[in-house]
């Protein structure tokens, strides 16, 4: 049976893993190569490394970090942050990554999705969508009619700093048609809160695309993972903060989810 994936996310700055809480309050948490290997040994189904600074100066550091991290990693490895072109993506793939995530670059020029997918395969292109709900009050929701989706969210870029005016659900459909292989949906409303994933939004997107949807933002308990797999129709769930400081182990998380009836790769 196809299992639901638990993806460990390492937010990196200048070659070190930092913990991201709503994109601020960075705290050093260790060496990415070592942490990636540890997570994989403990049962992570996949590793995502997000370079959260991604300035031009940090570019070379990132490629070195990817090379070092990929060397002893034999589960899927995704790298994102600051990838703007096919050339950027190529250098990351050559360093040993299996997939890349793009966000801002795809919004600026959606043809970059197709260009990377044509060269490296759709399975290698993960479209990151950072989304923030529109109109959170009951009054706003009451205004929607039968044919209008009751969930709507706006796509943000530049590490969550810049609104784009794009509707997240329409954008998800577009990126699929342009060749993206997966969608990594981050709820900006939930990111760092540990209040649970945005299951409604995840489900709204998972039901309009056929490619897998990775839910991100808000993980704080085992129950939150159960909810996002069951109610949110997520194929995978990503978490950064809960794994780094020993609050939960991945193995413990997977065992509990399995007991809840969620198919898991466990024991590995």
């Amino acid at each position: 049976m196809l299992t639901k994936r638990i993806i460990a996310c390492l937010d990196c700055n200048a070659g070190r893993v930092v913990k991201g809480v709503q994109f601020v309050n960075l705290q050093d948490a260790g060496d990415p190569a070592e942490l990636a290997r540890l997570h994989a040994e403990n049962g992570a189904d996949e590793i995502v490394l997000l370079d959260i600074t991604a300035t031009h100066e940090a570019r070379k550091t990132l490629v070195d970090t990817v090379r070092r991290t990929a060397r002893e990693l034999f589960v899927p490895f995704t790298v994102g942050g600051g990838i703007r072109s096919l050339d950027d993506a190529s250098s990351i793939f050559e360093a040993g990554s299996d997939k890349i995530t793009i966000n801002s670059a795809a919004v600026a020029d959606p043809s970059v999705i197709t260009a990377i997918a044509n060269r490296f395969g759709a399975q290698a292109v993960v479209l990151a969508i950072d989304a923030k709900r529109n109109g959170s009050s009951e009054h706003d929701r009451a205004g929607t009619t039968g044919h209008t989706p009751s969930v709507s969210a706006e796509v943000y870029v530049a590490g969550g700093r810049k609104p784009t005016g794009l509707d997240a659900i329409k954008w998800a459909k577009e990126v699929e048609s342009r060749g993206a292989g997966e969608i990594m949906l981050t709820s900006m409303d939930r990111d760092g809160t540990r209040a649970g994933f945005d299951c409604e939004l995840t489900s709204a997107i998972a039901s309009v695309v056929s490619i897998p949807v990775i839910a991100s933002g808000g993980a704080g308990s085992v129950q939150h993972f159960t909810e996002v797999f069951r109610d949110g129709q997520a194929d995978a769930a990503l978490a950064a903060s809960i794994f780094h400081f020993g609050i939960e182990s991945i193995g413990e998380l997977k065992q509990q989810l399995q007991a809840e009836g969620i198919p898991m790769r466990w024991p590995i």
Binding site: M1, F74, G96, Q123, P212
Partner: protein, 196 residues
């Protein structure tokens, strides 16, 4: 020496890295003469079956066939495995090596496509490539088309219906999943191949 055939379809870095981790020497080549003389030939591949047409255009198809006839061990990964079959409904008119009878087809309606993630692989019958690989094992898949169950099937996965996860026939082997990304089970499969 493991010879990895480069035909500009996807990324060979991960496969090479896994073999090197196992202590194997590797060479990545697009030169038919290098392939012709190889003892262990690997054709990876991702994406579209039509990409295998590049193997024909580059003279690599004939080189791979010759190497196999001369007894080289062959491993096809993902689309590289599909290429071992007669053809695929993904690219009508483009033919595989036909080492194994059958046509690769899209998953039946009802299954969410692509099939991405870790799924169980069950062994079936005697196999050299799956020697000492526990059954079932979890392996990592990412694909939209799959090979039918055939006499040469030695590993089976269920998604929508049962399909060939691993095929084996004399000195040729194919895996639909990515052994280089499938943890210990995947590494064991690559090790078995390298030791042939």
């Amino acid at each position: 020496m493991i010879t990895l055939v480069d035909y500009r379809a996807g990324n060979l870095a991960s496969v090479r890295k896994a073999f090197e981790h196992l202590g194997c020497e590797t060479v990545i080549t697009e030169d038919p003469d290098v392939v012709r003389c190889a003892h262990h030939v690997v054709v990876p591949g991702v994406g579209h079956f039509a990409a295998t047409d590049q193997l024909t255009r580059a003279g690599l198809r004939d080189a791979v066939s010759e190497a196999i006839q001369q007894g080289a061990n062959f491993l096809g990964i993902c689309v590289g495995m599909q290429w071992m079959f007669r053809d695929s409904t993904e690219a009508p008119g483009i033919f595989g090596l036909g080492l194994i009878e059958g046509t690769v087809e899209r998953f039946p309606a009802g299954a969410k496509v692509p099939h991405v993630g870790w799924n169980t692989l069950e062994g079936r019958g005697q196999s050299r490539i799956l020697r000492d690989v526990p059954s079932p094992s979890f392996v990592y898949y990412t694909h939209s088309y799959r090979a039918p169950l055939v006499a040469e099937t030695v590993g089976v996965t269920e998604y929508g219906s049962s399909f060939s996860g691993v095929v084996e026939k004399d000195n040729v082997f194919g895996v639909q999943f990515h052994p280089e990304k499938s943890g210990p089970a995947g590494l064991k499969i690559l090790e078995n191949f390298a030791k042939l």
